[in-house]
Symmetry: C2
Subunit: 356 residues, 2 copies
């Protein structure tokens, strides 16, 4: 009755070849590093006025788009208050800018590299937020990209820096390196088994926060969690990254053990759940964003575990983004009601999942 778990085969080989990067790729969807920086000559954004904001934005733009530098051709500029609501939504859904930047009433801007790996937000909680976002477990690479951009800007701009404290920031939790590093993790087994509460508590004790998909105060939809460092003061950039990587590896280990447990406990029930979710995505005529993300999480798990073979992980990655309200409206048109959006979403899901 019981078959060999597909995880077992893969874990056997993992033991031989050391740490298998595939697991990290499966469970860590994206890695992100961001640096908070402020300019000495301006008040913090909470106190900045419109004129100063405009001058601040122009200073940064002039630096990045300086034709003599090597950044000018790599970036696009977005005047945030001038963007349409849908365009704002899309940038947030793609994690290229923060919700806070969009919701702020200050003049603000964003420079985003054409490959979408670097964003520079101006006049968010700090004057500058330099962010690098990459697929998979790429914290070191994302840190390098941020450091390069930081070095580039530092040549032209005087950042607020204190020899004892490090970089000065609006919120004390960012003082020091000004770095926050985070990974988005897919943790269905940890959620299914109810271990998520224990993980949350354990992490908070070692200075790590776990939150939902869109940062603070958002719920974890589709079993996706943002795991990030809580403090930056008194630690080097490398210590922050290595501390986070350490915790992330432990969470991955836990998630893998629980996937294996669930599979072995009742293989048929487990597979049934995943295949039914795929079946619903392939046949629904009306579906919410939240339900879609929940079902896509099951399909992702099925692909990771070698149970679902006729869907590519890239399809799931693409769908997880384009079924969200902003991206969806940019595809289907902007004046859709809720129901029409849910109907359009179902059609996109059916089409993309059938084509595989």
């Amino acid at each position: 009755m019981f078959r060999k778990s597909p995880l077992q085969d893969r874990r056997g080989s993992m033991a031989n070849s050391g740490r298998d990067r595939q697991y990290e790729e499966d469970i860590v969807i994206t890695s992100r590093v961001r640096m908070a920086r402020n300019l000495e000559e301006y008040p913090f954004p909470a106190k900045i006025d419109a004129k100063q904001s405009e001058r601040l934005i122009n200073t940064i733009k002039d630096t990045v788009f300086d034709k003599k530098g090597d950044m000018a051709d790599r970036f696009l500029y977005f005047n945030i208050p001038n963007l349409s609501p849908i365009d704002k939504m899309i940038l947030v859904e793609k994690h290229l800018i923060s919700k806070e930047l969009v919701e702020s009433r200050r003049l603000s801007g964003a420079m985003i590299s054409k490959d979408e790996k670097i964003s520079i937000m101006v006049n968010e909680e700090d004057h500058l937020r330099i962010q690098s976002l990459m697929h998979g477990m790429m914290l070191d690479e994302a840190l390098d990209v941020c450091n390069d951009m930081d070095d580039f800007l530092d040549k032209k701009i005087d950042f607020a820096f204190n020899d004892r404290l490090g970089y000065l920031t609006s919120c004390p939790t960012n003082i020091g390196t000004g770095i926050r590093a985070s990974v988005m993790m897919h943790l269905p087994a940890i959620v299914m088994t109810g271990y998520v509460r224990g993980i949350l508590e354990a992490c908070s004790k070692v200075g790590i926060t776990i939150r939902g998909l869109y940062g603070e105060n958002t719920e974890a939809t589709g079993n996706l969690f943002q795991v990030s460092n809580q403090v930056t003061l008194g630690m080097s950039e490398e210590e922050i990254i290595s501390n986070l990587k350490n915790i992330v590896r432990q969470i991955i280990e836990q998630e893998l053990v629980l996937r294996d447990d669930l599979y072995k406990q009742n293989t048929y029930m487990f597979e049934d759940k995943l295949f039914r979710s795929l079946g619903i995505l392939r046949s629904a005529r009306i579906i919410s964003s939240e339900e879609s993300l929940k079902l896509l999480s099951d399909v992702r798990l099925g692909i990771d575990m070698g149970i679902i073979k006729d869907v590519k992980i890239d399809t799931i990655n693409v769908l997880s983004t384009i079924i969200q309200p902003g991206s969806l409206q940019s595809i289907l048109g902007s004046n859709l009601g809720n129901m029409e959006r849910d109907v359009g979403r179902a059609e996109i899901l059916r089409t993309k999942l059938r084509n595989d």
Copy 2:
């Protein structure tokens, strides 16, 4: 946003061509007539002893299988107490014999025609139960078949008959013609809208009973109901049939109106429900008989309404029978546990629904 209901097209043409038989075929799955008969020379089954039972069974067998008559080659004989539990279950699931016959501790037998349209049960609640079962709305035809068989037996056997009361039976509700006529109806819209209670009450006032799939005290699984006459005394056979047909037509009319209402109220939600059910049947890895019947009911409704086009109604009819425990065990083997049966059922559903 709203499209024309597929029912509307069909109902328009119905008005022109008079009563459209297709609706009866959609909603009335099978028709059944059975006659209760007792032999004068034996006590009723409640009082019969083993020796008398054996003699009774032999008398009927000798009559049916008499080489000089024209029934001998058309029938198979089943010695009920000797059948395996699975074979008993299959005959009940196919509605060829009653649960009561199988559960009785008396010696009992059944003669079933090879085309499965006629069964003669011996030593059920009455000495003889002659039954004719046909697909679709075929009450008149089923009555004819029963009458022919009754005439055939009547030539050789003395039935207990009273000039004032008619045929005498074990239960007073069967006295008179001894006829019970019933149809199995598929009434998803009446169930979804909650009208089922009103229909039950209205029917009981005009001498019509509505019960679940396997007769008295069973629940309606998969929105399937047995609608039958309650009394036989003081009415002719023709009156019984025509009274039942009359009520059945009114229930069909009600079901069609409610299907149309549900469709128009929210076409997308309605279609979504039906397509999701098909999606689950096509992808589940473990599924109970009850859930299967519920989902198959949705697919049947989708086919009836022209919404689901790639599944044949015959497939649904076949599946509704073979996914039941007895038939399933005869396909998969008899010593399966509950879970293995549910896994096998899911596999059969996936295969049959994919092949369409």
